[in-house]
Symmetry: C3
Subunit: 385 residues, 3 copies
């Protein structure tokens, strides 16, 4: 059964080309001021992907998430509760914890400096030798929390004090991809890429296959470029799919499936690879037999970390005989990713030139125009001229 | 005899806790603008520790001191005179000398570029082919001097044109620690630490033992935390002492003395370790049997060099059999220093967070509140709210 | 025959010393703002040296030139035409080419991202799937060109939209050094130096021999310091010569010629070494038997690349027996260059000091005063006081 209800449009063929749509000016990839605005108005405000809930299975398990100057502890507070705490002691501001992953052995978080101790819910339990009064009270010293929501095993957080409701930002995700039962899938592999380009270039790269014939010969063989279709959503979730040319195939080095279709995937979905950007820091690619996703962490106007994960059915992960097929899916995307990073990094350099005057988008790049408009709206900027 | 005349107060126990005293806002550790203000209004204006006079014993010996964009040559001008010269040629601004230590062989300083030659007093002796007149005169081309004062073998300089009198800034040091005859002590060991934290975090760390139980188990055994007392001085010199728990002991790996008490140290001083910060760049720790001190060199808002020195009686330094005991004192402080650097660097990172709202100081951290007020006054800043 | 028509003046001896001429203030070597102004008003506006035409002999050969944020492709468009193209795709701003040298195999330049393809003249030949209309037309998407001029085998470019005529900026070069037939000479050797100093310090260093006795003992032996003479030109070209002390000698490790005089060099030119700065990025040093030149690439206020080239008669380059003599010329200048780089880097550091008040130029440094005035005029700055 096709789990996607929307109408799709052929990218750049059926869909009317937007009149005179042009790229962002180069400064949007290089200006430190614009970057700081993006951090404040997007990364510290929107719902962003933090991690998979499987990464912190036991009570006390935690993972740190860095969002520019903010460090967030994603911690398993109770068997059924994950909590997001700012990683900063209420006393003198010491970072509580500096190991990227771990377990708070005593189910409490102790500051390494003066031993102030917090519960996994962030409440200040002990502050040695601090007498209540004169303005100080333990109850007012809980660790600040970030908002948290889990969707299909993905942990999202928002650092905003009052974020937009998750269901509003992620409207187009609600009810989507249910057949994959992604909450049941598990991480089979992870690769961290350090890239010298602006975070937006990765989203742009992901949302058009105009570059595929030249950049990705293998991908273009497995999924014909002209099969690209998309549902032209507004908001943070936007994307579409491409058709697998091989019946029962998938995105692997040989084009054959890496595994059986996951859970309830059936019908058209058996012949499709979906590509959705979940604005601003997640790219989600469900295949019939596995799910690949990217998590983007901006480190500056021209610097990001891109973490790429492969999710498989747990039975496949535990099947010794299936490891070669997992590897084939990993190798395919590692090859494809590196092809993309090269052109993204070259676009980063080129757009510095004073002679780059905003170019015209092709009909196959209309989603990029939508992403640009999302950005300008989030920043409250006028349409540049 | 106890060389300290002042009344002491138990830290955070006898002494009234300041109402609602809170830490500095995080920007004081991260802002480039505030850092540049600190350089201008504190490091380029206050008296600061430069070196020990024993480091330049012979006429012509010199040591370079870096104070942000300024380089100062501390040179032995005459048998009884040390002079501080700006390390910049009056002709075209070339740095005269770039070796950190050495000896000006001919008792003159020659610019490597055009061979302008200065006396050890900074006077321009020779400027080849320069004809006096048209505005130029050799007598107006002497190297600028920094002010210089020596106290107990410590060389202090001020880069201000008209510094506050040394005796005013250092009032609380005058007549203090005379029994140690520190001018007679010699450097037994030196360790340079490169740290990723703001310079003020080192002073704060040094002026409270609230962190000792968790961070320094060995130190807390040798000097019980609750023994800390201090004389609540104003001005640049502030500190106190802790009691040695072992009779005749000291701060070493086994808690036993590293050497005989130095010179005239007697009475209560035999059972005390003193901790004085000499604002802004010196931390002075006299023990009964040796003296340890830190010199802080800021390199940026989040970057310093901390040079740690151990001074011993010259007889101990020359006694082959005493080297193990010196090592025990060095090892103790090297261990303790590294425990401190870890939490200081974590505080540096944590205070970047927008959610670090100024915390409340415990009663045991009142000197930090005094240090903060010194800083705000030196910068001419309002009390932050 | 002497190819130089002008009258020459003994540097700093015959020529009247300029009254009270003083150096630039230190900020001209350190301020990021002034550096960015220099890039805009000088490096992105003046004619600058790009390369030698022999470096791109075949149609399709190219070399990349970096001028701060701009990358320029110098390409052999036709057998008799060299063209300078901005290295940035008109579509989305991708850098077209990132290898420093090479050959465009198909005589076209293809963007690695979406395969837009340009001719060697910059015209957009193919833009796959782009439909003309809605503002887009291929004819308006040619790569922007930089202006280009060739003089004696040297390729000069200007990034200005409307540069000053080449003959005006380079007036003093026109007709100069014709006897060397420099267009016929070939690169025998190249050394790239990465230096931590401002670009102007290299020009200043090159235009006075006041530093030679102390810094360059060997050079001072081969060309007596007091032999320096210069023609006090205005504009971008300024310089003079020194006499070779050895008859028929040259600048080599042993002072003997490295080769026969090149082409038509005769008369006085057989005993002279010329030093001309071709503002802002070229230093040209014709010897009787070879030509040495520097190309300066600024990377920031305190960072440059200096590429040094040695040009010889092609017969010498192809003569196996002559390689030792070429090496002797290369070694001489490599030694001399490194002596210069050391003092330039020390001047860079020293001029940071707030106590560097503009020094007086000696009579032997008058060209530096002229260079300073050129700079201030180009920037539109008042004479500093």
């Amino acid at each position: 059964m096709d789990s996607n209800k929307k109408e799709f449009l052929k990218r750049g063929i059926d869909y009317p080309i937007i009149d005179g749509a042009r790229t962002l000016p180069g400064k949007y990839y290089h200006s430190r001021d614009i970057y700081e605005e993006e951090v404040k108005k997007i990364f510290h405000k929107f719902w962003i992907l933090a991690c998979r809930d499987e990464e912190i299975p036991m009570v006390g398990d935690y993972k740190l998430i860095e969002v520019q100057d903010e460090s967030i502890i994603i911690v398993k507070e109770k068997p059924n509760k994950i909590t997001a705490l700012f990683n900063v002691c209420s006393h003198r501001g010491t970072q509580l914890c500096n190991q990227p992953k771990g377990n708070f052995k005593t189910n409490s978080i102790q500051c390494p400096y003066h031993a102030w101790t917090y519960g996994l819910d962030g409440k200040l339990l002990r502050a040695p030798q601090m007498k209540e009064g004169n303005g100080f009270s333990k109850s007012r010293c809980a660790l600040p929390q970030a908002h948290i929501r889990i969707w299909e095993g993905f942990v999202f957080i928002s650092l905003a004090e009052n974020p937009q409701p998750f269901e509003v930002q992620m409207e187009a995700l609600m009810g989507k991809f249910v057949d994959w039962k992604m909450a049941e899938l598990r991480i089979a592999h992870h690769i961290e890429y350090k890239l010298n380009c602006n975070w937006k270039l990765i989203l742009q790269n992901y949302q058009e296959c105009y570059h595929c014939p030249g950049v990705h010969p293998l991908l273009s063989k497995l999924t014909p470029v002209h099969s690209a279709q998309h549902d032209y959503s507004k908001g943070a979730v936007i994307g579409g799919f491409m058709d697998l040319s091989q019946k029962g195939g998938s995105m692997t080095m040989d084009g054959k499936a890496a595994a059986q279709p996951v859970y309830d995937v059936t019908g058209d979905d058996l012949q499709r690879v979906y590509y959705y950007s979940v604005y601003p820091n997640m790219l989600l690619t469900p295949h019939p037999d596995y799910v690949m996703f990217h998590q983007i962490t901006p480190l500056g106007p021209g610097k990001i970390i891109n973490d790429c994960y492969w999710l498989f059915h747990p039975d496949v992960i535990h099947d010794r005989g299936a490891q070669d097929r997992i590897k084939s899916a990993v190798d395919f995307w590692d090859l494809t990713n590196k092809q993309d990073w090269k052109v993204c990094e070259q676009m980063q350099i080129g757009t510095k030139s004073s002679r780059f005057t905003r170019g015209y988008y092709s009909g196959r790049e209309e989603i990029l125009h939508t992403l640009d408009k999302e950005l300008l709206q989030a920043l409250g900027h006028e349409d540049p001229e």
